[in-house]
């Protein structure tokens, strides 16, 4: 409770870090912020080409099937991989001045979230123009799913950024872990393709219900099952509590170790 209150007081710091990150990202490029839209658009173009012309794999509009899961997955994986160094990168600040350390992972993940939402606008546009259409009732569930994923990304970013301060190797190990994690999440394929024996593993993976829900909303144009939403939210909250606890232990020695 005290933490929330303190973070609220430091909201301007969070906003200013997010702004700096978003502004800085495409600084010096001619098209600037437009790249935020162009990147996913080109990606989608490539998937369309590959999966509808070359690799026609039996799933209808596979490029769309993949893309609606890949956009949220990229948000999660960047939060974990990029977030790992968010405290290390700001060590001058951490060593010299007090502020709630949670500010750093929070602002990193928030700027990734904004990027994902902008990519989703591309998805929206594509769904409308390709004639697939949008189910507006299902869309109402989208905020819940986004918040679940935000909680997951945030707690993972807190945990890995805290560990990275003590053990630099973690960021290289993470590349492999995140890659494996992607294959253990129904991103490239549907949950119906998972063999029964592996199902418990998938159900313990907090990203599984999130990806299923995104795909339900965008691809199948249906309201996600209540069970999926509940599963995702419960996991999100549980992982967040773990993340806050671990981070609160790790942060005490940041200034000494860095």
């Amino acid at each position: 409770m005290k933490l929330i209150n303190e973070l609220y007081n430091y909201r301007e710091m969070i906003f200013s870090l997010v702004r700096r990150d978003l502004k800085g990202r495409y600084k010096g490029s001619v098209l600037g912020f437009l790249w935020t839209f162009l990147n996913p658009l080109f990606q989608l173009g490539i998937y369309t080409l590959v999966f509808s012309v070359i690799l026609d794999g039996g799933v209808e509009d596979y490029y769309m099937f993949l893309f609606v899961a890949l956009v949220p997955w990229i948000f999660f994986s960047t939060s974990v991989l990029g977030g790992a160094t968010c405290i290390w990168d700001q060590q001058d600040l951490v060593k010299k001045i007090y502020f709630p350390r949670e500010v750093l992972p929070i602002s990193f993940v928030l700027s990734q979230l904004i990027n994902m939402i902008l990519s989703m606008l591309v998805v929206f546009a594509f769904l409308v123009f390709s004639g697939r259409g949008i189910n507006w009732v299902a869309m109402l569930c989208l905020p819940v799913v986004i918040i679940d994923e935000l909680l997951l990304s945030l707690s993972m970013a807190m945990i890995v950024s805290g560990i990275t301060v003590y053990l630099r190797d973690i960021q290289y190990i993470l590349n492999i872990i995140v890659m494996g994690w992607q294959f253990m999440t129904p991103v490239l394929y549907g949950i119906d393709r998972v063999p029964k024996e592996l199902m418990p593993v998938f159900m313990l993976n907090p990203m599984t219900p999130v990806i299923i829900a995104y795909r339900d909303i965008f691809y199948y144009k249906k309201v996600p099952e209540l069970q999926t939403l509940f599963h995702g939210s419960a996991m999100g909250i549980a992982v967040l509590l773990i993340g806050i606890f671990i981070f609160s232990r790790l942060k005490r020695r940041f200034a000494e170790v860095l």
Binding site: E12, Y98, F99, E256
Partner: protein, 246 residues
């Protein structure tokens, strides 16, 4: 915690691990465990003191005695191994000026970034902007990028932000050497004004005369414990005697 005291430090201790050769990688940690030998150095053994609201306290002692570490513990950059520190209200520290300054951005923009790091909201910064700029005497240059500033201008801007935070507790480490003589005098007067408003101040300094001028009380820290505590004149007299003999 009693009402009278804004800062209560009771029986804190802190030791550091001084690594001879520190490894950050897994290889270093697993394979070369022997290389990661460190010695435990106890910087603070047992320090307790209390500071009343509106009081100014100076911490003195020779280099490495633990006074700067005490200040860092007060700001919560570090945590004590044992003991309790209680501080009431918003704390602003003038330990490191200009934290988070961005050289390519204008002075005005940097005021916002720097003040945000002190935990001010946008509204609060808007309210203080004019007095910060006025205090820094950088009116003409405020929209130029900070990289074009001289080091004196840089410090003036940073000091102006830190001093305008309106904290309840102000922690200062050896930084009243900002800018030219007239700016220093201005900073000093500003500190007195702030103190008169009821802000509690803790200063670490080697300049005994500065402490005598502004502080009500001096605490002499020696080898991680409080050696003596009392009015600056009395403590400084003993401290000077001790320093002469060593």
């Amino acid at each position: 915690m009693s009402k009278k005291y804004v800062i209560e430090v009771s029986h804190i201790s802190k030791h550091f691990r001084v690594f001879k050769d520190k490894g950050y990688t897994l290889k270093d940690i697993v394979l070369f465990k022997a290389r990661r030998t460190y010695e435990e150095r106890q910087v603070i053994k047992d320090i307790s003191f209390k500071v009343r609201k509106g009081e100014a306290v100076g911490l003195i002692g020779k280099n490495g005695c633990g006074k700067s570490t005490t200040l860092k513990l007060l700001t919560r950059i570090m945590y004590p191994d044992s003991g309790i520190i209680n501080i009431k209200g918003r704390v602003s520290s003038l330990l490191e000026l200009g934290a988070g300054f961005h050289p390519d951005m204008s002075g005005r923009h940097n005021i916002y970034i720097n003040a945000a790091i002190f935990g001010l909201t946008r509204k609060e910064i808007d309210l203080r902007l004019d007095s910060i700029i006025k205090f820094s005497e950088l009116e003409e240059f405020i929209d130029n990028p900070v990289r074009t500033y001289s080091s004196g201008m840089y410090m003036r801007l940073a000091f102006a932000v830190a001093i305008n935070v309106d904290a309840d507790v102000l922690l200062i480490d050896e930084i009243l050497a900002v800018g030219d003589m007239s700016f220093q005098a201005k900073c000093f007067n500003r500190l007195k004004e702030i103190k008169a408003k009821g802000v509690t101040i803790v200063i670490v300094s080697h300049s005994l005369s500065q402490i005598e001028e502004i502080c009500d009380r001096s605490i002499w820290i020696k080898d991680g414990i409080v050696e003596m505590e009392g009015t600056p004149e009395k403590v400084h007299e003993e401290y000077k005697k001790y320093m002469m003999n060593n």
